[in-house]
């Protein structure tokens, strides 16, 4: 029994860079939750993404149908795929009080806000598995693994969803990545 079962609506924001798969991460998150019997929507920040530029994606998870279609203005959860963008983008913008932040980071980041902080070294996982495209570690799916643990989505649902969305070797590598991240994610406590 995790967060997802406790709240009627969870709003999430994913931060990454163009080409890093933040939208796919949001999609798989929703798809997994749906497999667990929840409802969800996911959508990109509607802009012209360029490879490498900071981008955001959004998701909403809920017990019943999600009615609102507007932008997520005050997320409950923020997922940071790429910690380096934190020096350019205020990833905490609008985050609810005592909100949850899941960061891809090898170390404990320095955060001057009261949040529930989780980290996982998704980059390490990706590099270990050889999940690299054009020099970029592919961390997005690993982050979904970590996030699912935080939210209380069943890991099996996540793995099913990955296998459904991807195929072949990419699917299997990402399944492994998600599993590892699921287990390696750790809570750091307020910053």
């Amino acid at each position: 029994m995790g967060l997802i079962a406790e709240r009627s609506l969870i709003e999430l924001r994913f931060h990454g860079r163009g080409g890093q798969g933040a939208v796919t991460a949001a999609h798989i998150t929703v798809d997994s939750a749906v497999r667990d019997g929840f409802w969800g929507t996911a959508f990109p920040f509607f802009g012209a993404e360029r490879r490498g530029a900071p981008v955001a994606a959004f998701a909403r998870l809920s017990r019943g149908r999600v009615m609102t279609r507007s932008m997520v203005r005050n997320p409950d959860v923020v997922v940071v795929l790429d910690p380096s963008i934190m020096s350019y983008v205020n990833v905490f913008d609008g985050l609810k009080d005592r909100g949850i932040v899941v960061i891809n980071s090898p170390t404990r980041p320095n955060i001057s806000r009261e949040v529930k902080l989780y980290t996982v070294n998704a980059t390490r996982i990706a590099l270990d598995l050889g999940l690299v495209l054009a020099g970029w570690p592919l961390v997005n799916i690993a982050m979904v693994g970590a996030l699912s643990r935080v939210l209380g989505i069943r890991l099996d649902s996540v793995l099913e969803s990955i296998r459904n969305m991807l195929s072949g070797r990419m699917a299997e590598l990402n399944v492994t990545a998600a599993e590892r991240a699921y287990h390696e994610v750790s809570e750091i406590g307020g910053g």
Binding site: H27, G40, V66, M67, T68, R69, M71
Partner: protein
């Protein structure tokens, strides 16, 4: 029935495939592009038995599917914004040629400046042309309506083309759970292609030369209007049958949420109706009894159905996501004129909002609703029937 999480655009692609469309021709434009891409992928992977004509413009896209349809097969196209404007001549042409075909319109605002976000100027600008126009609120509705439109447009009482509108990004690129029907279900629902005439080799039938009898020609045009009138019944029948097959009945031309006991109504079309639903729940908590009347069909305009529901209410707010500049919002115009024609006096406020993609959510609707109730109770009517939101 499989439950998948799909974007609105992928719902269109699935619907097209399930409807056993034979010819697709479309031209890329953000945010419609992923429809064409998905269909291309389905075709190239052998997943769909469709012939794609990869044209050089939208004018040609609609022309190509028009040719295919006239020649006797089910055909489909999709576009958005400037693409729709660029094919405008053919939009008129296909309706008056009485050729059934279906188009998805991912509603997007019009430039300049270049802007890819949603509003409804593009699709509402086609409301004179004789096409059926249905607006979706959810991805499920996108999928369902696309399939149904083939059945409705190919009904001999109708024989007109139809378009389904889905909001840029907030449907087109948003994933949500969707029940995708089995092929057999769709097959049992959709009859073989029917159309009023077919151009064939060896059969000298001539379409479109100059009329000698202008009154007859005037009647042809009027029959486009009448056929839209006749389609109201077809829509109802088809919606009910689909409801029986799938459990999803939308109410035909319009859909209601908490209308029965409401004093006030929000009336609007498209994806933002979801936020209206949320808003009226809150408004009721605040003591204002609102309901939502979702206009599913823009054409035929369901004046009679709306009036049935709105009669006796204390006030109505029509939310338009476009404006007929120099007059008012198009849904308001159709609706208020209809009410006038029936001598019904209910205060109606036209709020034009969400232009150029400006985000509007349930909180905004709550504000609009509250303001409206106050205005009506103070003034006894509306002070100014047309308002831009947010007010300056």
């Amino acid at each position: 029935m499989v439950k998948l999480t799909l974007t609105g655009n992928h719902c269109v692609a699935y619907a097209v495939k399930l409807s056993r469309v034979k010819v697709v021709s479309a031209y890329p434009i953000t945010p419609q592009t992923t429809i064409v891409e998905k269909l291309s992928e389905m075709v190239d992977s052998g997943d769909a038995d469709i012939k794609m004509i990869r044209v050089e413009s939208e004018h040609s896209a609609l022309s190509a599917v028009y040719g295919a349809a006239t020649a006797g097969v089910r055909a489909f196209t999709a576009t958005s914004s400037h693409g729709l404007l660029y094919m405008h001549e053919m939009v008129w042409w296909t309706a008056q040629a009485r050729v059934p075909l279906v188009m998805a319109v991912v509603t997007r605002t019009i430039g300049p400046p270049w802007n890819i976000w949603t509003d409804h100027h593009d699709i509402m600008g086609q409301r004179d042309t004789g096409w059926l126009i249905v607006m979706a609120e959810t991805n499920q509705e996108v999928l369902d309506e696309t399939i149904k439109l083939f059945r409705i447009t190919e009904d001999p009482r109708v024989f007109l083309p139809g378009m389904v509108g889905l909001d840029a990004f907030i449907l087109s690129h948003t994933v949500e759970p969707v029940e995708v029907p089995e092929q057999e279900v769709v097959d049992s629902f959709l009859p073989e292609r029917r159309q009023p005439y077919t151009i064939r080799f060896g059969d000298p039938l001539i379409m479109g030369n100059i009329p000698s009898d202008l009154l007859l020609n005037a009647k042809m045009r009027w029959d486009v209007h009448e056929a839209l009138g006749r389609s109201t019944q077809v829509i109802d029948e088809v919606d009910r049958e689909w409801g029986k097959l799938t459990g999803r009945y939308y109410g035909g031309l319009v859909e209601c949420y908490r209308c029965e006991d409401a004093d006030f109504l929000f009336i609007g079309a498209g994806a933002w109706v979801g936020d209206m639903r949320l808003a009226i729940d809150k408004l009721r908590d605040m003591g204002y009894r609102f309901g939502v009347l979702k206009v599913r069909y823009i054409r035929p305009f369901p004046g009679a159905r709306i009036l049935e529901i709105a009669r006796g209410k204390k006030g109505v707010v029509v939310l338009d996501r476009s404006i007929s500049a120099g007059s008012a919002g198009p849904i308001f115009l159709d609706l208020a004129a209809y009410f006038q024609g029936k001598n019904v006096t209910i205060p109606i406020k036209n709020v034009v909002a969400g232009l150029a993609g400006f985000d509007v959510n349930y909180e905004d609707f709550v504000k609009i609703g509250e303001r409206f109730v106050n205005e009506v109770s103070e003034v006894g009517w509306v002070e100014n029937h047309l308002e831009f939101y947010p007010l300056r």
